[in-house]
Amino acid sequence: EPEVTQTPSHQVTQMGQEVILRCVPISNHLYFYWYRQILGQKVEFLVSFYNNEISEKSEIFDDQFSVERPDGSNFTLKIRSTKLEDSAMYFCASSVTKDTQYFGPGTRLTVL
């Protein structure tokens, strides 16, 4: 069964550094998403992406965040200058249309 994959599974970085989280959505899906979950809290929406542009973003998704689909298979989330409070599990998801979203296994980001 096709699935969403994410790399790396765990990333440790120093405060102020840039990180890029990578995702490979399911191949025939058209909508792509990033969510995050701070330890012990609920999952929060960051951004959705469709037709090579951002279709929706939350208040969390400020100027330090960006997304890109650099080729036909990868979908990336960049955090330009990481802060301690960016430490969280980041989930990528994809869907064919605006129905079932399938989530990847997550990247645990630790900012020191």
Binding site: Q37, K42, V43, K98, Q101, F103, P105, G106
Partner: protein, 108 residues
């Protein structure tokens, strides 16, 4: 924005017991999904159920959209059912709004 409340927040069961988890939402929805977050943090799709009833093995779900709630039933629970169960809804745009989850522990 839409509010999603799940109950109970915590649940402890003996293996073999049945349980019902509830999700209330504050507005009409066009998408509702139930997820199981396993101990490794992975979010596993259980159901896409904006309305009606579905069953998958020991799990079943019912959404009554007109009354703004959904129920997840777990029968004959097993220790592998332990984890956090999330309800997530979509009512505008294409973002899912998650509830706070129900943390389930099944004891052998």
């Amino acid at each position: 924005g839409i509010q999603v409340e799940q109950s109970p927040p915590d649940l402890i069961l003996q293996e073999g017991a049945n349980s019902t988890l509830r999700c209330n939402f504050s507005d009409s929805v066009n998408n509702l999904q139930w997820f199981h977050q396993n101990p490794w943090g992975q979010l596993i799709n259980l159901f896409y159920i904006p309305s009606g009833t579905k069953q998958n093995g020991r799990l079943s779900a019912t959404t009554v959209a007109t009354e703004r709630y959904s129920l997840l039933y777990i029968s004959s629970s097993q220790t592998t059912d332990s984890g956090v169960y999330f309800c997530a809804v979509m009512n505008a745009g294409n973002m899912l709004t998650f509830g706070g989850g129900t943390r389930l522990m099944v004891k052998p």
